[in-house]
Point group: C2
Chain length 232, copies 2
DNA sequence: CGCCCGTCGAATGTCAACAATCGACAACTT
DNA sequence: AAGTTGTCGATTGTTGACATTCGACGGGCG
């Protein structure tokens, strides 16, 4: 069967389409943190009526990307170092548990696949140059893989959904910011070997250490940025 | 100033009111798991138009209390032993972290307050009779208190919000089901003493053990119920 | 000059009507 | 009898109009 007929045609409502557009704009920074969203203006720009836009906004509220004040309006959630810290702490907790569960569930073939994934990561140019360890979302993302392997639907949905979106808003993937590339890759390797050991405590600790390091590094980077802003 | 004027008057939109009504109906079982929600019927019953109802439904979708199939409709999320297990595993992970953080942040007075809270719990009649350990939500809930003391806004919001609502749907508080009352209270006491020790690992383990025990007990109770359904 | 009140426009909240979709059921064909 | 197609009613998705609320600004008063 040709490609055109291999997948089912799925209706996409305006609410779905608008949700995606808003999400992309928030993550790209086109809608800036703290910025007010005016329903009529945006609905006109998107060529839809306010109804579906309101529904999309409700969804993004639930995902903590937008904040609402009744009868006043909706704004893009503001970022702060404290909030990033809170978020990474939550991720540490959940991803540690995901890794613990995955260590009991992943097959040997799946663990080999993780090694291959890391090998392909290390061949990428921006990593070799230390520019950053950015990953596509989905199946090639190291953390997605582990969350999916946990076998816990709710946990997977949380880690790969809302919490992932929040991270992206910080222009940050769960691995590293610039400057910590080779260490992050080493930590990923350590996580895979801990998974292979089938020791749940070890697996959980490896992941938690990795995310804690990323959190500490982010704190340092933000403090440094603040100090530089003061002196200039 | 009299009580009537001690708090500000806050506007409550129809969306807010409808959200609460739906939530209450789901938790009380008036809207049963799997049950279809018909917008026009429900809107008529509630005396509002479909617009605010749709917005409320979007919110509850985001909280995993409702499932939507585009162009077909919305139904109450179905319960299953696997989903309860997933949920308790997530809570174990998050509440363990909350307890770890709280062990570093709670004042001595706050820990004494926790002891007093447990003392008041142990004086309650249904606990003495072993009938169950149900707590009001809010400040008198043991787990709420610890989550709030974590100092992590996101974590607190998750534990005391959506995840708490999901638990309530299972007619279950994060402590115990009937039959495990005195053990749960003992475990609560152990958690408080671990908090008082200021040892983060110990605090985290005490909370995780408590929730893991609740999870294992829930599994046994569900299996027992299934076996009894088979023989009758 | 500072404070309070009233007005107005922008924006949000809600409503009801129309458009589109889906599933159930009946009729038709093989 | 089984499978396919067409129809229809119930329901969902969207639109645009009206009602309500809020904040900004200007005018009046002390």
């Amino acid at each position: 069967m040709a490609e055109s007929f291999s997948t089912k045609v799925v209706a996409k409502s305006l609410v779905d389409a608008v949700t995606e557009r808003l999400e992309a704009a928030i993550i790209a920074g086109e809608l800036a943190p703290g910025e007010r969203i005016r329903e009529q203006t945006l609905a006109t720009a998107l060529g839809v009526s306010r109804g579906p836009l309101r529904e999309a906004i409700r969804r993004l509220e639930g995902r903590r990307l937008l904040d609402r004040k009744a009868n006043v309006g909706v704004s893009v959630t503001e970022l702060s170092p404290q909030r990033l810290d809170d978020l990474l702490t939550v991720r540490e907790s959940l991803e540690g548990m995901a890794c613990r569960l995955a260590s009991q569930r992943m097959s040997d073939a799946e663990i080999d696949d993780m090694r291959k994934l890391l090998a392909s990561h290390s061949r990428r140019r921006e990593i070799a140059l230390g520019e950053g360890y950015y990953q596509e979302s989905g199946d090639v993302d190291f953390h997605f893989r582990i969350a999916a392997a946990s076998g816990n639907e709710l946990l997977t949905s949380m880690v790969t959904g809302d919490l992932y979106d929040l991270l992206r808003v910080y222009r940050y993937k769960s691995s590293t910011m610039t400057g910590r590339t080779s260490q992050a890759l080493e930590e990923h390797r350590a996580i895979v070997e801990a998974l292979a050991s089938r020791d749940p405590d070890q697996a959980e600790q490896a992941m938690r250490t990795h995310i804690r390091n990323a959190r500490l590094y982010a704190q340092m980077a933000l403090e440094k940025a603040e100090k530089e802003a003061e002196t200039s």
